[in-house]
Structures are given as structure tokens and as C-alpha cells.
């Protein structure tokens, strides 16, 4: 198991290097000059040159990349141009808020998806199965931005029962209860597509098992149906884990839209603002953090997979 994990970690290293290179190059391509953004267009040539040197922008690109990567590895992602505070601080707060939203949405994704998928597989062609299959298809085709907008227009504004945006009540910020109330709509909007995808993929995994020779043989052993289902669920668990990991990724990208519409102070909104302000260090850091988190999630999924399935562990 230890060797299996080490192997996975080592395999992730070139991927992470590639990711950092892509982030660096992409952000370097973004039009607009950070020096102008900082000093304004009327600055003197001397002060421009001085700042360019101070930001290290006069060095050759490979050197800039190595320096940036070295700093990034020690947790230094530079200073936000627009806010003049360390990028790490800006990202930290936003990341925390995004994780809250993503986790809130992750629960219905996994639970709802597994239930819809399992029901679809257990009752194929009969009404409970068809209903669940239909719901999954609907959920898959519900783009986050469209759903979010409809939720704001008809649930938040229409009924007034739930807040249309923000994390806490602006006038009277409350505790966890207030937060939960503000989470309902954005989490719903973010959860629908990944939930539908989870349902579809889990249905395929379960259907394959329930039609398979293992389940037939378990029945031939005379085991009660609930024990048979337990074996099937155990065997489907690695699939659910892999699917869940994939969907966590999908949640994060959906969150960009959801956060924009619901004014949720997270990474998505931050990145979007940074893009419009040409705040390069924040964009660089934000995209890097998300991509590294991705690779990390995949590693965790692999590790958990190894724990469940002895065949993977070698």
C-alpha cells in the first residue's frame, strides 16, 4: 500500500510541473501590462524601468518561471496588484468560502446521485427506474448559470423565503443557521449537473453488477437479497468514489458561475474580478491553486480506491 501511494505521488509530479508551466505561460499571454496597471499611463520611463526590475519582469522568461515556481513552492505567490496585499491572503479567504459551497453541494451530488442511479439500475424499464433516469437526464442538462438565474428570479425574489445572494445577511449577520440559509440556492444550482452525471455513471456501474455473474452466484449461494445488494454496493463503491472525485472537479468549475450570480465571496468570483482587473498574480495563484487541488483530489481518490479494492493495491 505504501509503495502504491508513493508511486502515485511520484506520477503526479510531472503533471504538476506541466500544470505550473501552463499557468505561467497562459498568464504571460494575457494582454495588458502590469507595470502600466500599477503606475498608470503617465508614469515616467525611469520609474517604469525601476518597477519592471523590482517585479523581475526584465529577466528572461525561463528565469522568471523558475523564480515564480520557487516562490510558489515556499507559499509566496506575490502581491495582488489591485489590492496590494499578499495573494496568499486573498486566495485563502476565498478558497475557504468556495470549499464551504462545494462541500454543501457535494452532499446532494453523491447521495442524490447514488440513490437516483441505484434506483435506475434496480428497476430498469419500470416506473421508478424510468422516473429516476428522467430526473438524471434533466439534472445533467441544467447549466449552472441558467438554473441559478431561475432560482433567483422565482424562488428568492418570487417567494422571498430564501436570500438571493451573499454568504450572510448584510444587515444582521448570523451564525451557522444564517450561512445554511444562504447556502441552499447556490448549492442547489451547483449540484444539479454533477448529481445527474453521478446518477448516470453509478447506474451503469450498478446495472453491470446486478446483471453480472457475481450477483447471480451470490443468489445461487442462497444468500438473502439484502446481503446480495450489500455485496453489489461494496463492489460499486470504488466506482462511486471515482465518480465523486470527478464531480468534485465539476463542482469547482460550476462554482465560477454560481458565485458570480449569487455574489458568493469565493474563488470563482475572485478570479473573475481579477481577470477584469488584469491582476496577474491573483489569476496565476488562483488557477494554480485550483489545478493543484485537482491533482490532489485525484491522488486521494486513488488512495481510497486502493483501500477498498485489493486488486488496485499492487
Amino acid at each position: 500500500m505504501g509503495r502504491f501511494l508513493m508511486g502515485r505521488v511520484l506520477l503526479a509530479v510531472p503533471t504538476l510541473l506541466g500544470v505550473s508551466l501552463v499557468v505561467f505561460v497562459t498568464v504571460k499571454l494575457i494582454p495588458g501590462d502590469p507595470v502600466t496597471a500599477l503606475l498608470g499611463p503617465s508614469a515616467s520611463a525611469a520609474s517604469r524601468a525601476e518597477l519592471t526590475a523590482r517585479l523581475g519582469l526584465d529577466a528572461p522568461l525561463p528565469e522568471q518561471y523558475v523564480r515564480w515556481l520557487g516562490h510558489a513552492l515556499t507559499g509566496d505567490l506575490g502581491v495582488s496588484i489591485a489590492r496590494q496585499v499578499p495573494v496568499v491572503d486573498v486566495l485563502g479567504a476565498a478558497l475557504g468560502n468556495t470549499v464551504i459551497l462545494a462541500l454543501a453541494a457535494f452532499v446532494p451530488v453523491v447521495v442524490g446521485g447514488a440513490l437516483l442511479g441505484a434506483a435506475g439500475a434496480a428497476f430498469p424499464g419500470r416506473w421508478p427506474g424510468r422516473l429516476c433516469d428522467g430526473l438524471a437526464t434533466l439534472a445533467i442538462s441544467a447549466p449552472q448559470y441558467a438554473v441559478a438565474l431561475l432560482l433567483v428570479a422565482f424562488v428568492a425574489v418570487g417567494t422571498g423565503a430564501l436570500p438571493p445572494g451573499g454568504m450572510y445577511d448584510a444587515a444582521d449577520p448570523g451564525g451557522p443557521g444564517d450561512l445554511a440559509l444562504h447556502l441552499v440556492l447556490p448549492a442547489t444550482a451547483a449540484a444539479l449537473v454533477p448529481m445527474g452525471l453521478t446518477a448516470r455513471m453509478f447506474r451503469t456501474a450498478m446495472a453491470g453488477l446486478l446483471d453480472g455473474e457475481m450477483v447471480e452466484h451470490l443468489r445461487a449461494r442462497g444468500l438473502p437479497e439484502r446481503v446480495v445488494l450489500r455485496h453489489a454496493a461494496h463492489n460499486a463503491a470504488p466506482a462511486l468514489l471515482t465518480i465523486g472525485g470527478l464531480q468534485l472537479a465539476y463542482l469547482v468549475e460550476g462554482v465560477v458561475f454560481v458565485e458570480t450570480i449569487f455574489s458568493w465571496p469565493g474563488l470563482g468570483q475572485l478570479l473573475f474580478t481579477a481577470l477584469s482587473q488584469r491582476d496577474l498574480p491573483v489569476i496565476q495563484g488562483g488557477v494554480l491553486v485550483v489545478a493543484v487541488a485537482f491533482v490532489g483530489i485525484n491522488l486521494l481518490v486513488d488512495a481510497a480506491h486502493g483501500l477498498i479494492d485489493p486488486r488496485v493495491r499492487r
Binding site: 457475481m214 452466484h217 449461494r221 442462497g222 461494496h234 463492489n235 485489493p310 486488486r311
Partner: protein
């Protein structure tokens, strides 16, 4: 007849198509019957219908009794499947899978009892290194050992009937004969499904030849295989490899 398996008027239809057509079989207690046929002849479906394992898509009619009463899966009858890789739960150790069957049928009360019993059953199935095999996951074993583990599962509750569906077709040639000897030597009533005439000769007291869902020939093994009456059986026999050809060729002989 009081002893043994009696199948009367078994018919299976799926999607409006009749794939098993009024099949009747009779196996005296302790005897072995081989159902012989090419793939698609309905022999496997017949075995599953006898065990009551067919899904909702199939509609089944007819009577199956054993010693005059109904069959309880796992307790009265064990199934030895064709695909030893697919039939075991890949995530549970062999010993645990045998123990689970023992506990659910009330043969043993505790896990430790189940463990001892499982080792004995593996020994009965011809496993020499029972301790190691009981601790192993299915993927860690050879095909022959997996099939022996499945035989241990099948005989765990001391069934009087075994149904074996092509039990050797997924095994190496060298292991095939040993597994057949083992199945024959367990002393239960045996219903074996195969496409392999060599297997039928080796195992069957009686032979039923199936084609297109019907039994076309039925009788003592030496009569059916020695003096085939039905043209279909004669064609099967003509396709059999000649003596002198290594036995291994038999496995693929009719495929």
C-alpha cells in the same frame, strides 16, 4: 420416483421467443447427468431455470422437485459456475465468502467456527494449502484454485445436488480432468452442462442432448454416445477430435 431431481415440462420464454421447450429430466440420487449441446441450445438457461435464477425478463413454467420437495438454493443445491473469475466477490477473502454461506444457512454459529469449517471445505475441494487460500483474495489465486474455492462454496452446506455449468471450460487442460474427478467424487447428485463430448463421456451416467431448446436424445451415456439415434448427436460426435489427438483439443472441439 422419490430420490433425486425431477424436472417436468420446463418451458422458458423471453421476448416472445421460446428458448427452453417442454424439457423433462430425471436424475436418480447420487447419479450424474450431462446435458450436452452447442452454445445457444438452451442448456445453460435450463440449468438457471432449475435453480430459479432467471431474471424478470424470462417467464418460466414447469415443475422442479428434489426428493419430492422444493429446492432451497445454497442448502439443497450448489452451483459451480463457468467463469471462476466473475463468480467470486473480488473484494472479499475466500475464507470469508465460504464462512458467509455457512453462517447464513445456520451451519455454524460463530466466525471462528466458520473459519475452521472453511478450511475443511477447501481441503475437501482438493486445496492443499487451505490456510493460504482462505486468506487470499480471488485475484491472487490461479484459475484452478478459484474453481476449487467455488466448489468449496457450493458444497459448504452439504447439498445433495450440484449443478455445474461448463465447470472446466475456463481452466487449463492439465487442471480440467482433476476438477472433473473431484466433482464426480463428491458423491452428490450431479447435473452438468457442457458442450464437450469428452467431458460427457468422463462424467455422465446419463446424457441428454439439447438442440434449439428441446431435448433431442436422452438415455444412458454409453447408448447415446455409442449409438447415437438423432442426426444432431451424430453431427456432434463426428465433430469430436479423433483418438490420438491430445485431450486438450477437446475443450475447443465444438466451439
Amino acid at each position: 420416483m422419490n430420490g433425486g431431481l425431477l424436472v417436468e415440462d420446463l418451458t422458458v420464454t423471453v421476448g416472445g421467443r421460446r428458448i427452453v421447450d417442454h424439457v423433462g429430466l430425471e436424475i436418480a440420487q447420487g447419479k450424474a447427468m450431462v446435458v450436452l449441446g452447442e452454445s445457444g441450445s438452451g442448456k445453460s438457461v435450463t440449468a438457471r431455470a432449475i435453480l430459479g435464477l432467471l431474471g424478470r425478463r424470462f417467464s418460466v413454467s414447469g415443475h422442479v422437485t428434489f426428493n419430492g420437495g422444493p429446492l432451497t438454493l445454497g442448502r439443497d443445491v450448489g452451483l459451480v459456475p463457468q467463469d471462476h473469475t466473475a463468480a467470486l466477490d473480488p473484494l472479499r477473502r475466500i475464507g470469508a465468502q465460504i464462512g458467509e454461506v455457512l453462517r447464513h444457512h445456520g451451519i455454524v454459529g460463530s466466525r471462528s467456527q466458520a473459519k475452521g469449517r472453511a478450511l475443511g471445505l477447501l481441503g475437501l475441494a482438493g486445496v492443499r494449502d487451505a490456510e493460504r487460500v482462505a486468506r487470499a483474495y480471488p485475484h491472487e489465486l490461479s484459475g484452478g484454485l478459484r474453481q476449487r474455492a467455488l466448489i468449496a462454496v457450493a458444497v459448504a452446506c452439504g447439498p445433495r445436488l450440484l449443478v455445474a455449468d461448463e465447470p472446466t471450460s475456463a481452466l487449463d487442460v492439465t487442471v480440467q480432468a482433476k476438477v472433473l474427478d473431484l466433482l464426480r467424487g463428491l458423491g452428490t447428485t450431479l447435473l452438468m452442462i457442457t458442450h464437450d463430448i469428452g467431458v460427457a463421456r468422463l462424467v455422465g451416467d446419463t446424457v441428454a442432448v439439447m438442440s434449439e431448446g428441446r431435448i433431442v436424445e436422452y438415455g444412458e451415456a454409453r447408448d447415446v454416445l455409442g449409438l447415437p439415434g438423432h442426426p444432431y448427436t451424430r453431427r456432434l460426435l463426428d465433430a469430436e477430435p479423433r483418438p490420438g489427438v491430445p485431450r486438450g483439443a477437446l475443450a475447443g472441439g465444438l466451439a
